[in-house]
């Protein structure tokens, strides 16, 4: 059980500061590139070395940790961390034939750079961790945060998920079949019957603790699964709901990680059937990336807080008058799956 007290989100849409779901930023060249907010909180001397993942992470983090007395820990999930810097350094190695190379890209390429920079900038000497387990990097960060909150009931933690589209990583994932070969659009992402999705990036941050009072939302439970078998996903989801939904408690919304990849529709179909409630989807807004589920948690918190749902996210069913309980399902490339149960 995790109480979420404050949230922030940087994505391809207007999710930072003035949240506005009415204006839709389009997919461009099969990418949904995150809109980076201007921030005067971070001095140029600090910003100058950072790649986009680190900038998004630190901007999203600082917007909620500023007035926070000391955080007991910083827990970040990122599959690729500083991928752009990693490849820049790789190119240096080849271009200069392993000669004298500049170290900045190498230092910035370490996956734990986002968490480290947040720690450095806030002078935080406590627990600092980076989970990098591809499509379950954020989920493992959540499990970590849940344990921490139990271990330190009176402390507050920063939990986040961040990943960037790097030119090179995009190429690798495209070759690997993760993105569509034809040009995709936001609105018809789910209509195409082809393999692949559109690339995305973003950062979502959460202040979490064990205190119910004034919480924005509650993350009641999480489960992760490694399988390619949809029947296993089905059985696990049934079990998950049976275990974690209280007597008489029902789902109000199902937030699905559907991403337009025809190969993965079997998973979203079966989970939708079990949830059997109004289904929402978000990847036409954010694109697909390993820690997109961090953004899905931000959406769920937003719906609970505002008691509103943008109509362009509704796949089926009607918007409920009261939003109390949301089931989130995500899968990454059909091998890593997760469920999260969020409630008021």
């Amino acid at each position: 059980m995790l109480y979420i007290h404050s949230t922030s989100c940087i994505s391809a849409q207007h999710t930072f500061d003035d949240v506005n779901f009415d204006v839709l930023n389009p997919v461009v060249e099969n990418k949904l590139v995150a809109v980076e907010p201007n921030s005067n909180q971070i001095p140029n001397a600090v910003l100058r070395r950072m790649g986009k993942a680190v900038r998004m992470g630190i901007k999203a983090a600082l917007s909620i940790v500023n007035n926070q007395s000391e955080l007991k820990g910083i827990i970040i999930g990122t599959a690729n961390g500083g991928m752009e810097d990693c490849i820049k350094f790789l190119n240096q190695i080849i271009d200069y034939d392993e000669g004298t190379l500049t170290p900045t890209n190498f230092v910035q390429s370490t996956a734990n750079n986002i968490a480290a920079q947040i720690g450095l900038f806030t002078s935080n000497k406590n627990y600092n961790i980076t989970h990098v387990h591809r499509g379950l990097a954020f989920e493992n960060a959540v499990i970590d945060a849940m344990m921490l909150v139990k271990e330190h009931p009176n402390s507050t933690f920063l939990l986040g998920g961040v990943d960037e589209i790097s030119t090179y990583n995009y190429t690798i994932s495209l070759l690997d079949g993760l993105y569509k070969n034809e040009e995709g659009k936001n609105n018809d992402l789910y209509e195409t019957e082809t393999a692949g999705s559109v690339a995305g990036e973003g950062a979502a941050m959460f202040l979490v603790n064990g205190k119910k009072q004034n919480a924005q939302a509650t993350l009641k439970a999480i489960q992760t699964i490694h399988t390619t078998d949809e029947i296993t996903v089905e059985a696990n989801l049934k079990d998950f709901l049976a275990t974690h939904l209280a007597d008489g408690e029902k789902l109000d919304l199902f937030l699905s990680g559907e991403n337009g990849d025809s190969r993965l529709s079997k998973y979203t179909k079966i989970t939708e059937k079990i949830a059997d409630i109004t289904t929402l989807r978000y990847k036409h807004l954010t694109g697909e990336f390993p820690t997109a589920s961090a953004l899905s948690l931000w959406f769920a918190c937003n719906f609970i807080e505002t008691q509103k749902v943008p109509t362009n996210m509704v796949k089926s069913g009607s918007i409920p008058t009261e939003i109390n309980t949301i089931l989130i399902y995500n899968n990454y490339t059909g091998i890593q799956h997760s469920f999260m149960l969020v409630s008021r």
Binding site: N44, A45, R48, R49, T100, L101, T102, P103, T104, V107
Partner: protein, 89 residues
Amino acid sequence: MNKEQLKAQLKQQIIESLNLIGVKPEDIKDDTILFGEELGLDSIDSLELIVLLERKYGIKINDPKEGRKVLIDINTMADFIEQNSSKQN
């Protein structure tokens, strides 16, 4: 190239290679301490500048401690470049 031109060029190169956002060449005086408060450079920058000296001026520094002696300010860097370039000629 005379020494003033060399210094002006160095300032531009330092700003570019260290990505000093918002810093203009005129903000760096010839005797501004590079690793002082004003520019706020650190040990990674000193390694970047060692690479700059090699890539732009063909001068190789193998020991970072030696680098620190050269990389005090624009004056010391320009002197070092002149001395070592003349050696090469």
